[in-house]
């Protein structure tokens, strides 16, 4: 698109927004709220777009901002039992046709991630998105050692749930 070619910030938005939204959705599990949070985080960054080089550093700044916003949002929600959370929240926010479109693996990963604490989920997902563990630890204000332990435990949990889907992997 010509506008994106002319404006590097527009091009950056187009490139990063879908991933950022998917990440926020996975953390908060409420699509509409995730979109609000992502919109808000972009708004704060773009309001200071002259103070940062968003094309170069924007991904890290954005994902750090989204991580904090989503964790804060999640902690404001009332605690629910695992069964309630796993079985109802995702369904309440999805239309039947959307659910049907999810394939089995997507469903399995969706539910496996849901079993993790939101911070552990953020660590695993940020790492899978290509952020180094040092960056992830910094984003979450954790020590490198603590982040490493959390990442290891979260992956063990996921591996136990997703083992059947590892065929053909690794």
């Amino acid at each position: 698109m010509p506008a994106e070619k002319n404006d590097p910030l527009d091009a950056w938005i187009v490139a990063v927004a879908p991933r950022a939204l998917a990440y926020a959705r996975s953390l908060v599990r409420e699509p509409a709220d995730a979109e609000d949070l992502v919109h808000d985080c972009f708004g704060r960054l773009l309001a200071h777009s002259r103070d940062y080089d968003l094309v170069r550093d924007g991904d890290k700044l954005l994902f750090k901002s989204i991580t904090h916003a989503c964790i804060d949002w999640t902690r404001r929600q009332r605690p629910q039992s695992g069964l309630e959370t796993a079985e109802q929240e995702d369904r309440s926010s999805e239309r039947p046709d959307q659910q049907a479109l999810r394939n089995e693996l997507q469903q399995a990963v969706h539910h496996a991630l849901e079993e993790l604490d939101v911070t552990d989920r953020a660590i695993v997902e940020l790492r899978s998105l290509g952020h180094t563990l040092v960056e992830v630890a910094e984003m979450l204000s954790l020590s490198h050692a603590n982040a490493r332990v959390k990442l290891h435990r979260a992956r063990q949990t996921l591996a136990a749930r997703l083992q059947p889907y590892f065929d053909g992997e690794s």
Binding site: P8, S26, H48, S49, V109, S128, A159, E169
Partner: protein
């Protein structure tokens, strides 16, 4: 971002998890295109497109002027952020009066003859499997004020259930038969009363209950998605309710429509399950659709039951 596989991915299992999670996020990103969000993001106010790197190429006096302007902008930004913080704190703090007024508007709207269709999911807690009518169920529920009809499945049972304009409830398990109950809801057999309560939410009645016995807290979210409010309702200390301990109502405050609802149900004070309702349609329905006769074939056997509670 760099994507080094070491030392955090020490095992093939770690790498598999990493790849599967990445694949999941990529699929999620592709599944629902973010075009609408991207368009809104592009319109967000931003500072000039120049980056700090290009600023170094400017003359010294321009850089000095920019520094002053940036400081002024920073102070203005801080003042704006403070204002936003105050507003956010106000909107997130408990405001029973506001929550009540939001609910009354919804109640008035849902009392009218407007048809709403919800997808309903019920998930029991600690279900022992003995009474399958209390097991996991899903249904499609049409409501119009106090009238409703529900097409629901619980276990291997497929049933239709409704309340007609005169308040009578009906139930049908096949096209050739149906039963109409002359009792009011409190006199129904427990199983039927439970099915009605869970699968046939009446918004006006629910809001009456919530306003009477529940603490309310409202959260508003106006961030680019129109006006939406989430109302949390928690049973007040010292109060009891035959069915509910908590409820979460997501409301379109412009149209006064209940978009989604979660009910946490109890029996004898213990958690029993949760039911979620998601608005999926609002097309005008034929008046007769709420009557039993619309759901059975012509000549079907229709019985009328009048039963005491617990019989």
């Amino acid at each position: 971002m760099s994507h080094d596989d070491t030392p955090e991915e020490n095992t093939p299992e770690d790498r598999s998890v990493n790849r599967i999670v990445r694949h999941y996020l990529d699929e999620e990103a592709a599944r629902e295109p973010a075009a609408e969000l991207v368009n809104r993001l592009k319109k967000l106010p931003r500072q000039a497109a120049a980056t700090p790197a290009s600023a170094a190429e400017l003359p010294a006096d321009v850089r000095q002027a920019r520094r002053v302007l940036r400081r002024v902008a920073w102070l203005a930004g801080m003042a704006a952020a403070l204002l936003v913080s105050v507003l956010m704190i106000r909107t997130l703090s408990p405001k029973p009066a506001t929550a009540a007024s939001v609910l009354r508007d919804v109640q008035a709207h849902h009392t009218s003859t407007v048809d709403r269709c919800y997808q309903v999911q019920y998930t029991p807690v600690n279900w022992d499997g003995k009474n399958k009518l209390e097991g996991p169920s899903h249904s499609v529920l049409w409501t119009r004020g106090e009238q409703f009809w529900s097409d629901f499945t619980v276990g291997d049972l497929h049933l239709k259930l409704g309340r007609e304009a005169d308040g009578r409830l009906w139930l049908s398990s096949a096209r050739d038969k149906g039963v109409r109950f002359t009792n009011d809801d409190t006199q129904l057999p427990p199983e039927v009363a439970f099915l009605c309560a869970v699968n046939a939410m009446s918004v006006p009645r629910l809001i009456d209950d919530v306003l009477a016995d529940f603490e309310l807290q409202v959260e508003r979210s106006d961030l680019g998605r129109g006006n939406r409010a989430t109302v949390w309702a928690t049973l007040r200390s010292g109060r009891s309710h035959t069915l509910l301990s908590d409820a979460k109502l997501v409301i379109d405050t412009e149209k006064n429509v209940l978009l989604a609802l979660t009910l946490w149900t109890v029996r004898d004070g213990k958690p029993k399950g949760s039911a979620t309702y998601t608005l999926i349609d609002n097309a005008k329905q034929w008046d007769e659709v709420y009557r039993l006769e619309s759901h059975v074939e012509e000549g079907a056997k229709i019985e009328t039951h009048t039963m005491g509670k617990g019989k």
